[in-house]
């Protein structure tokens, strides 16, 4: 089996998807692969490379052409993320966060004027976007957020911090979820756009991470930051519900990111197992190794089908909260599993930075944590299946 050939359940790759995959792969091989370990070691976020991706349409995949985007669908989107992630998961993560979260939120909930103002810059990568929900003390429990916005004429004054925000320092614009009502009131949270350079808004501490080191993760700090009310996305108090919808779509992109890492790990391990000889034969001929590969391949295929199913529902505008949570939960766990097994197949070499599986192993863990932990995904799934 090759992961390239995965079709099934009618999700055969269209010519469009194949061309997008090839385009993303060509770009990644030429402009990302040569720098992967340098960016990883030094925690360099490659903003200019991201902007080159923007020129190809990779930062506005889902944005309609009228706002400067590529105007493609989720299938092309998840195909592109996978190909980028196979080469560098960090860039894959940044691409997913930029498209699904910041850009996605403005696209889905912004008014016409707001879309015209920000989307053309985001869709072509002229601006890099950030999205702030999580805080130091409120990760999964987002409703207890402390970051507050108080009314002052036609402005809001924001105070507080957001943590673990992708592109927190480098991002040119951020969609931020702030408290405009009472604590624990699900109608007390509002989404608002804050541009870099707004007085009182700055990036804070950059996290030093286990993996995904080339994707910038940092604090957003707001100190009496005045933002026009015109920057509120949708209605005041709807922010939490909007965020949950954005995360539904975001989960599909993290599932795709997980698949990219899982496939990258599997393909590297498969190749190595055929080439590496011990006891006079390729290690792939030993059942202990071939069964690992069989398990990896099977789980990757299952994860891919779940991801395509969620994308299919999303494209048809059908409810997909359960399915996207299932895809994100399962694909991210498969991703950690595949990366772990790949290191095991590589043995001592897999523990060194000379082979890509070492990095996949470190990067993979983010997938079971970011944009909702595996536990939160199970909570979402359980709530939905118990309610039905």
């Amino acid at each position: 089996m090759t992961t390239e050939g995965m079709t099934g359940l009618g999700f055969g790759h269209t010519e469009n998807q194949k061309m997008v995959a090839q385009m993303a792969k060509d770009f990644a091989e030429k402009h990302i692969r040569p720098h992967v370990m340098e960016w990883d070691e030094a925690q360099i976020f490659p903003k200019s490379t991201m902007q080159e991706m923007g020129k190809l349409g990779l930062l506005g995949v889902l944005v309609p052409e009228e706002y400067g985007g590529a105007g493609l669908g989720y299938f092309e989107y998840i195909t592109a993320i996978q190909e980028i992630a196979k080469v560098c998961s960090s860039v894959g993560l940044s691409m997913a966060a930029h498209n699904s979260l910041c850009t996605g939120h403005i696209l889905q909930f912004g008014n016409e004027e707001q879309k015209k103002k920000w989307l053309p810059k985001l869709a072509v990568g002229e601006w890099i976007g950030a999205w702030g929900l999580t805080e130091a003390n409120t990760g999964s429990d987002a409703m207890r957020m402390q970051c507050v916005a108080n009314e002052d004429g036609d402005h809001y004054i924001i105070n507080g911090t957001k943590n673990w925000i992708t592109h927190g320092i480098t991002g040119d614009v951020a969609v931020v979820l702030v408290r405009t009502g009472d604590l624990l009131d699900s109608n007390g949270i509002t989404a608002i756009v804050v541009e870099r350079g707004t007085p009182g808004f700055k990036g804070g501490k950059k996290e030093n991470k286990l993996g995904m080191r080339a994707s910038e993760t940092a604090e957003l700090i707001f100190e009496d930051c005045r933002v026009p009310k015109a920057n509120v996305l949708g209605k005041v108090g709807e922010g939490f519900k909007q965020a949950m919808k954005i995360l539904d779509g975001g989960r599909i992109s993290i599932a795709a990111l997980s698949l990219g890492i899982a496939k990258g790990s599997y393909e590297a391990a498969l190749k190595y197992a055929k080439e590496r000889e011990q006891f006079g034969q390729p290690i792939a001929s030993f059942q202990a190794i071939s069964f690992k590969l069989a398990d990896m391949a099977t789980r990757i295929e299952a994860a891919e089908l779940l991801t395509y199913q969620a994308a299919d529902l999303k494209m048809k505008h059908k409810p997909m909260t359960t399915e996207s949570a299932m895809a994100k939960y399962y694909a991210s766990e498969v991703c950690v599993y595949a990366a772990t097994e790949a290191v095991q197949i590589f043995g001592g070499y897999g523990y060194t930075k000379d082979f890509p599986v070492e990095k996949f192993y470190r990067d993979s863990k983010l997938c079971t944590i970011g944009e909702g932990t595996s536990e939160i995904q199970k909570l979402v799934i359980a709530r939905n299946i118990l309610r039905d």
Partner: protein, 245 residues
């Protein structure tokens, strides 16, 4: 400026080559095909020229329907339209004859090809095509500029460079240094779906050659490592075993 770019659909450079039918046919099973890299350079340069001074770029391929993903990619990269001559590209003469028949009816100012296709490496189509059309050909060019109906080109020659100028129309074949290949963007990929891809049936006599057999190069032998301080042993082996000195 009307430019025609000849496109060959070739196996990906990482393909493991095997043969079928008693070693007379390339085994295409499971092989991924791509635009011949030299042709992709020719296409990119053609686009650079028309973007600067206006005009159209047509991509042409002699091939069966399975070549269409590569042809579509030429449209995604930026070609205005494409033509597929519906036949298996049996040999260079046949391919050149088919392209010549089409080119005669369209009056192109410039025809670009790759220096060779990376599968059979014949390097013949450009020259044959020019001969059939009765126009000049310049092969293996590393640069081309067109001004006032004259093309100025550079080509590598042994130990240096040659600068050639030639009135249009002409056929030129692309060498590696001609330009940087262009990665199609997503809008290009979308636009490619609606750009015209015309399928033309074969014309003329089918005078072709036939492949009698292919042979893979002999497998490489093992490597012997001689410690740096034992040069005498190395010389001895080069003399008596490898017999190269």
């Amino acid at each position: 400026m009307k430019i025609l770019v000849c496109i060959s659909n070739v196996p990906d450079t990482t393909t493991k080559v095997t043969f079928t039918d008693n070693n007379t046919k390339f085994n295409a099973a499971g092989v991924q095909f791509i635009i011949n890299p030299y042709d992709e350079l020719a296409l990119t340069r053609a686009l650079e020229i028309t973007e600067k001074q206006g005009g159209t770029v047509t991509a042409i391929n002699v091939g069966l329907a399975d070549a269409e993903p590569s042809i579509r990619k030429t449209l995604a990269i930026g070609a205005n339209d494409a033509v597929r001559i519906n036949a298996e590209p049996i040999d260079a003469y046949f391919v050149a004859e088919q392209i010549a028949a089409y080119a005669k009816s369209e009056q192109f100012d410039l025809i670009l090809t790759g220096r060779e296709s990376i599968d059979y490496n014949g390097g013949l189509v450009g020259g044959l095509l020019a001969e059939m059309l009765g126009i000049p050909s310049v092969n293996v060019i590393t640069s081309i500029e067109v001004e006032n109906g004259v093309a100025t080109m550079e080509r590598d020659i042994d130990g240096g460079k040659e600068k050639v100028s030639c009135k249009l129309p002409l056929v030129a074949s692309a060498q590696k240094e001609l330009t940087e290949p262009r990665i199609p963007n997503m809008r290009g990929i979308m636009a490619a779906r609606t750009k015209p891809l015309k399928v033309v049936e074969v014309s003329g006599d089918l005078i072709t050659s036939a492949t009698v057999g292919f042979e893979l190069p002999a497998a490489k032998g093992g490597v012997k490592l001689i410690p740096a301080d034992q040069a005498e042993q190395l010389i001895e082996l080069l003399h008596n075993e490898a017999k190269v000195i």
